[in-house]
């Protein structure tokens, strides 16, 4: 057995890790209690098999690409970073990218990841036309909106529980350049931040970085980043039309001691970050897509900042109506506690596409917490607020929510479970997450 964990490094559990080299071997690798794993960027226990974890990053071939339509067929282990580096210079990018480019296509489908454009362009699954799925029952099926559509919509956002995604056909967007025209807005409190996001509804990309150490009148103060793809005409002379994405230069060499992140250091960092951002506010300027979309990728192994015991990410979405009060309450409690992340992320989401997709129209807030003390109880309390407001938590980042929280947040669960049972009557596909939240006990 091998000790396996997600990006948050909590929990760390035993699961046999297998690396099949052919699709036949993938099929043979599935025993009762198996789940696929991409590049291991899910934070919690979603990509850890109950018994066996089937690593898919070896499947990284592009099958075909049509440079006229941008339609691409590829194996599920291709990383988005690879897609961007390969097809960016040819004028094509994925429609949707999350906050890190080091996720696999299979993982991006399974979590129906969202980006800074979800409010207007939807999630990753919206641009997937079909999927080659190896079901838990042992069949290999092609699923699309027309063919095996139940399996298709259950697989988008289905956390790998419908089977193992082998290949996908998806559409890439055409871009003139690899640059983003960015506009920064500084918001002095939560009302201003939510107002700025609302006003940014027509921007293709929008996201707010909240200083979650700020309290009282400053509660929710943030920097809002709006963005549009820049055209060739917007670039200065002599600039590369497509900037190169360097591999992370800076790395966190070892686990930082837990005390590095304390109230004083976080407050000082956030004060500096906010002031520097506020100085840039107002005007617009052109930035490379890499820092714009993937700010944390610049630091390799940044998960070690939180120390050896790992960290929890808490990402909720709250429906539009009543969101202001609940977000204010959550941020107030987090600020009073004082041990959350440097920065929290707030953004708007639209309707999700998969049966179990996380997004719903409203605001999503993402926070990091080191694993220590009474954090579990604290987050349970936050979950009560989320559930009462009709919200839910993001499974790709979850390691700890209760069944009750999960079931309250995902009303389409019954339908998902029925489809899952039909694809896998014996219950072969099981992850640590599904054992915790889905499976009958």
């Amino acid at each position: 057995m091998t000790l396996v964990s997600g990006w948050g490094r909590f929990p760390v559990v035993d699961s046999e890790l297998l690396r099949p080299r052919s699709f036949e071997a993938v099929g043979e690798a599935v025993v009762t209690g198996s789940v696929a794993r991409g590049n291991g960027r899910a934070y919690g226990d979603a990509a850890i098999g109950a018994v066996r974890t089937v690593a898919m990053t070896g499947f990284d071939r592009v099958r075909s690409f049509d440079p006229v339509t941008g339609r691409i067929r590829l194996e599920a282990g291709v990383l988005l970073s690879d897609l961007i580096d390969t097809f960016g210079p040819r004028g094509f990018l994925p429609f949707v990218v999350p906050g890190t480019r080091f996720v696999s296509v299979g993982g991006a489908i399974a979590a129906d990841v969202h980006g800074k454009n979800h409010h207007c362009e939807g999630g990753f699954g919206r641009y997937v036309d079909s999927i080659l799925l190896r079901t838990g029952q042992g069949e290999t099926i092609e699923a699309s909106r027309e063919e095996n559509s139940d399996a298709f919509f259950a697989t988008i956002g289905g956390m790998g529980l419908t089977g193992i995604i082998l290949e996908a056909t998806m559409r890439l967007r055409t871009v003139e350049t690899g640059w983003i025209r960015e506009r920064v807005i500084s918001a002095s409190d939560l009302d201003a931040a939510m107002g700025a996001l609302d006003a940014g509804d027509s921007s293709t990309y929008s996201v707010a970085w909240i200083d979650c150490a700020a309290r009282g009148r400053d509660l929710g103060r943030s920097l809002i980043y709006l963005g549009e793809h820049a055209g060739r005409g917007e670039l200065a002379e002599g600039i590369d039309v497509f900037p190169s994405g360097k591999n992370p230069g800076l790395a966190v060499p070892f686990d930082l001691p837990a005390m590095t992140l304390n109230r004083t250091s976080v407050r000082a960092f956030n004060e500096l970050y906010y002031r520097m951002g506020a100085r840039r506010a107002g005007g617009s300027h052109v930035v490379s897509l890499y820092p714009y979309f993937f700010p944390l990728d610049a630091i390799a192994d940044w998960n070690r900042i939180y120390g050896r015991r790992g960290f929890l990410q808490h990402q909720c979405v709250i429906p539009q109506a009543g969101a202001r009060a609940v977000l204010g309450e959550i941020l107030g409690r987090v600020a009073a506690r004082g041990d959350a992340s440097f920065l929290a992320v707030l953004k708007k989401l639209g309707q999700g596409d998969g049966i179990l997709s996380f997004p719903l129209p409203g605001y999503t807030l993402a926070l990091d917490f080191p694993v220590k003390g009474d954090i579990m109880n604290f987050l349970d309390e936050i979950d009560h607020l989320v559930v009462a407001a009709g919200g839910r938590l993001y499974l790709a980042k979850d390691a700890r929510q209760s069944r009750a929280t999960f079931e309250a947040g995902y009303p389409a669960l019954q339908r998902f479970n029925a489809i899952r049972r039909s694809l896998d009557p014996a219950g072969n596909i099981r992850s640590k997450l599904s054992q915790r939240l889905f499976d009958e006990v």
Partner: protein
């Protein structure tokens, strides 16, 4: 219109072979992939075409079938600009200690075959007066170790062959590169205990091969740390070395 540069990768279906082919295709080379199982190379050829819009040819090549080498080289539609041999077999040292057939296969796969085929290509390139030969050898050839000296000795022979060929070919306009990857996460090393900071992924090796060809490097340790590690290992006195466990 100037014709595009071409590269042939012997051992094209290995992880390092795929990575090298991608690196060269990305740099604008047309690619020939050669391996034992041509059908198994098809998906890699499709991958290269889809990614980089290059011309990809597939050829059958078996490094143990030395009798086929002349026919193989003469059968290529054109002599490539760059020839890369990634062929090799790690084998199982314990088995090779008593199983002569296994030991022979390891020696032939890592020394005899790669040396003969690159030697043959070298003659053709020298006759033309241009070209680059790349042999992927191993740090294991720098000094025989108790745990893998059958493999290591064959790689040592291959490194010596490349070194001699380089000295001779350089006078005829042909450049020879020796690549020593160190630990690489591949099918070959699956399940082995590798030292994290000394281990690289296959794409890093692919990129190192491309830059070695472009920079006309002679001997390349893919991770610079290996040059130091092997310097220390090579200079340890035999009396000390034989007592060490590795």
């Amino acid at each position: 219109m100037t014709s595009r540069k071409t590269v042939i990768v012997l051992g094209g279906s290995s992880d390092i072979g795929r990575a090298a082919a991608r690196a060269f295709a990305k740099a604008g080379y047309d690619v020939a992939l050669a391996g034992r199982d041509v059908a198994a190379l098809e998906p890699d050829a499709a991958d290269l075409r889809a990614r980089y819009d290059v011309v990809v040819g597939l050829y059958k090549f078996d490094v143990l079938d030395t009798a086929s080498f002349e026919g193989f080289v003469n059968g290529l539609p054109a002599l490539p600009d760059v020839v890369i041999s990634i062929v090799g077999l790690l084998g199982v040292q314990e088995n090779a200690e008593s199983d002569l057939a296994h030991a022979t296969t390891i020696m032939r796969s890592n020394y005899e075959g790669p040396s003969l085929i690159l030697g043959l290509f070298a003659e053709k390139l020298l006759a033309r007066g241009t070209g680059t030969i790349v042999g992927v050898s191993s740090v294991a050839g720098d000094r025989g170790r108790a745990s893998n000296y059958v493999y290591g000795s064959a790689k040592a022979g291959f490194s010596a062959f490349l070194s001699g060929l380089r000295a001779r070919a350089s006078r005829g306009g042909v450049h020879v590169v020796t690549v020593k990857p160190g630990f690489v996460r591949t099918r070959m090393t699956e399940g082995m205990k590798l030292i994290g900071p000394l281990t690289v992924d296959a794409p890093v090796v692919g990129g190192a091969i491309l830059s070695a060809v472009e920079n006309k490097s002679d001997v390349v340790y893919v991770s610079g740390k290996w040059r130091l590690v092997m310097l220390i290992i090579k200079t340890l006195p035999e009396a000390v070395f034989k007592k060490l466990k590795f």
